[in-house]
């Protein structure tokens, strides 16, 4: 958590950006990302130099002789004007040619642009970033998370930042293991991947002691794709700062033809793919269209996930409600595949305010396992009523919160005598046998299966009411007589 002094510092920098003329939060984060990267380059070089004292030779130096003034530790001490000139005219061109760093991140830097408008602002930001201890993974990650939480606008292509507590729930439910290959094909700021990495660190600390495992963790466990280069930079910086050395965060239009090479590659997919996004229909993968002939990105992404997963791989995907009941051919085909050919595990219905204030869209999380041979027995449904925040545009924290219960109940499911098996359809969660889903034409909306206890309004027996009417009639008659008397 970022609190107190540090938080105030970041807020102050944020305000400086605003008053300095950069008001787009994405751009602010992008500029901070560059600066953090520049600082990291310096630290890598310092580490290499330390090593060189023993070995006598610097391996893969980032800065060549004569480039020392481009190093963070050097320019941070110069006067603001000098620093501004150095960073703008030399460090950024250097960054752009760098292209290497042996990571995809260096690749994202090749179109780096320096847009901080004044020397004063630059020196303020550099001071602030320099104050933050970089050797602490938690602080780095938290700092970045804090910045990311300021991205408050929906993207043009139907992207929404997934609320962190929903991500946490999905990760807790899918419980990533050290051997997993995790992919988010629409990764944005890489929130799912970051959370998954933290989960593995926390629950499988031992596994990371093993060199091979550690190598897997840092180099081949996490994969994220996006087609927004700003998001890619931010996403990979987010991973980097959360201590993943070389995450595979790449440019890829996941729905296009080119995406087919990764078929059967991943064991876990966590995603909130864009809905109602714009789509370049012409270049959309024919293979995906063969599964679902549609222009709906949410359906094409589901088809993609089915392809990307290894048999036995699992997925947790946020979808708009319409996926569960939509009546087009593509909708029905996809649902039939999930139920008949794969193993549909669960549908967790979210309250419609989760993405407010950006969208009031009603969503659900679909959990499935790729089997290519069916295996759906009972599908678990959970009707989330509250996620711990008010469901209006304000999203104020509130006491009621179902999310912990979702995870707790889900974890009992594998047990033979799980209480879930005994739950009635009037409960908040329950199991529905496959046959019932087939009978409903593969409709997966929870309302199809949930039974409501109707508490009828209590009506008095008719004769009681009639007695009252009779009494009233008597009173009316007497009243009229009395009134007549009064008037005569």
């Amino acid at each position: 958590m970022i609190t107190g002094d540090l938080k105030n510092k970041i807020d102050a920098v944020w305000n400086s950006f605003w008053s300095g003329g950069i008001s787009n939060p994405l751009e602010v984060i992008e500029q901070v990302t560059y600066l953090l990267f520049i600082r990291r380059l310096d630290e890598l070089q310092t580490r290499a130099e330390k090593k060189a004292r023993v070995t006598g030779k610097i391996e893969n130096p980032t800065f060549l002789p004569g480039q020392d003034h481009l190093r963070w530790s050097v320019f941070k001490n110069s006067a603001p004007e000098v620093m501004y000139r150095t960073v703008g005219e030399e460090v950024f061109p250097f960054l752009r040619q760098l292209g290497g760093d042996d990571s995809t991140f260096g690749e994202h830097m090749k179109d780096a642009r320096f847009t901080i408008p004044t020397a004063a602002l630059l020196s303020k930001v550099v001071d602030m970033l320099d104050d933050i201890p970089m050797d602490n993974r938690d602080t780095n990650g938290d700092l970045y998370e804090y910045l990311l939480s300021q991205i408050a606008s929906a993207g043009k292509n139907g992207q929404f930042r997934t609320p962190r507590h929903i991500i946490e729930m999905m990760v807790a439910m899918t419980a990533p293991a050290p051997g997993d290959e995790i992919c988010d094909p629409a990764c944005g700021t890489a929130g799912f991947l970051v959370e998954a990495s933290e989960y593995v660190r926390e629950h499988h600390a031992d596994a990371l002691l093993n060199a091979e495992q550690r190598n897997h963790f840092h180099h081949s466990m996490f994969h994220g794709y996006d087609f927004d280069s700003t998001m890619l930079r931010i996403g990979s910086m987010n991973m980097l700062l959360h201590g993943i050395e070389a995450p595979d965060i790449r440019y890829r239009d996941s729905l296009s033809e080119g995406a087919s090479e990764d078929a059967d590659k991943y064991t876990l997919i966590l995603a909130n793919p864009p809905f109602a996004g714009s789509l370049d229909y012409e270049s959309t993968s024919k293979e995906l269209q063969a599964v679902a002939k549609t222009k709906k990105t949410e359906l094409l992404f589901l088809a993609l996930f089915l392809k990307l997963l290894k048999p036995g791989g699992r997925a947790a995907v946020i979808v708009p409600d319409g996926v569960l009941f939509g009546s087009t051919k593509a909708h029905k085909a996809l649902r039939t595949i999930l139920v008949e050919d794969q193993k549909l595990d669960a549908i967790v219905k979210l309250p419609s305010g989760v993405f407010k204030p950006y969208a009031g869209v009603s969503t659900a999380i679909v959990f499935f396992t790729k089997t290519n041979s069916g295996g759906t027995d009972d599908v678990w449904f959970y009707d989330v009523q509250t996620d711990g925040f008010s469901l209006d545009d304000k999203r104020n924290p509130i006491e009621a919160n179902d999310l912990a219960d979702v995870v707790a109940r889900w974890k009992t499911l594998s047990g033979k005598d799980s209480p879930e098996r005994a739950r009635a359809r009037t409960d908040q969660s329950f199991l529905v046998p496959k046959a019932d889903i087939v009978a409903q034409g593969y409709d997966l909306s929870i309302n199809r299966y949930k039974e409501i206890e109707y508490d009828e309004v209590e009506h008095r027996p008719p004769l009681d009411i009639i007695a009252d009417i009779e009494a009233l009639n008597g009173e009316i008659a007497a009243g009229v007589a009395e009134l007549k008397e009064m008037l005569s």
């Binding site: 009506h459 009233l472 009243g479």
Partner: protein
Amino acid sequence: MVELGSVCTITMGQAPSGDSYNGSEDGLPLIAGAGDFMNGTILPKKYTTRPTKVCKPGDIVLSIRASIGAKVPADADYCLGRGVAGLTAGPELDSSYLWHFLSKAERELFSKGKGATFLQVNRADISELEIPLPPLDEQRRIAAILDQADAIRTKRRQTLAHLDDLSRSIFRGAIEGRDWSGRVEGIAEVQIGPFGSLLHKHDYINDGIPVINPMHLVDGKITVDRSFSVSPEKAAGLTAFRLIEGDVVLGRRGEMGRAGLVKREHVGSLCGTGSMILRPREGIVPEYLHALMASVRMKDHLKRNSLGATLPNLNSDIVRNAPVPELAEDQQKSYRSRNECIARMAEAVQRALAADDELFAALQSRAFRGEL
């Protein structure tokens, strides 16, 4: 006749300073305006620790802004806000007589209202009202007569409310304990209204064949709006959507469970885009079908199964699959005859209520002309 101001004290309300407001029941309750009146009693939302103008129990609190003339009797001390005035009857005036006088003068007072955003009356407007001032005993006699006549119509309204309950209770009795394993499709043919493309904006005319949309289904009845209609030629091309006697029209957008029964006078009207037609199958009594579709349980079911994020929407599948109880035809008929009996009674009470209102108005006007 004297001016009201000469026989009664008028206290014009005044807003207390904003920082004295609180919701924690500290100080005196504040009546800001008629918004704090609720069914003839006072329901204050705020309190103030520094009341400006105060009324005493027995005073009449009169709204002087917007809903000018609305009034409630004060049952305790209240702070009077800017939207109200407090009236205290003087020694020559009976407060019950004053109450009835204010009812009668409501229209006159309202006509004095001035203001651009909302109408408002001032102290002079109230004070200048002319009130006949017979001796106190006479005032009390007049007030007693009006009280009596008012009590009669209040009881009549209660009777009407009871008949409403009775009707629901009878329906509930008919379906109580039944097996809800049936489906709407088993008891009625379901036909969704014409698609928007079949009915264009330019098709709408005045005084043609009425089109029935959810807004025309009010309190379980079809209320035709002649300005919402199409030409006979247009209607002739949409035969599948013409209504026949005994059909039930169900709204499929917005508020769920709006349903109306097609009576003889609605035959030939068109089902609108926002509605659907339920045509009872053989052996199904239309009145029963109507009551079923409008029932609380059906409404709940439809609401839960409706689609659409902004505007709830029903498709014909949802309605076809909605669960219904099994009920034999003779039981449906017995429900219908009971219901018809209640409806006849309600109609009679409704007419009696109209007579009560007329009687009260007649007495009121005579009372203040000195003819009672």
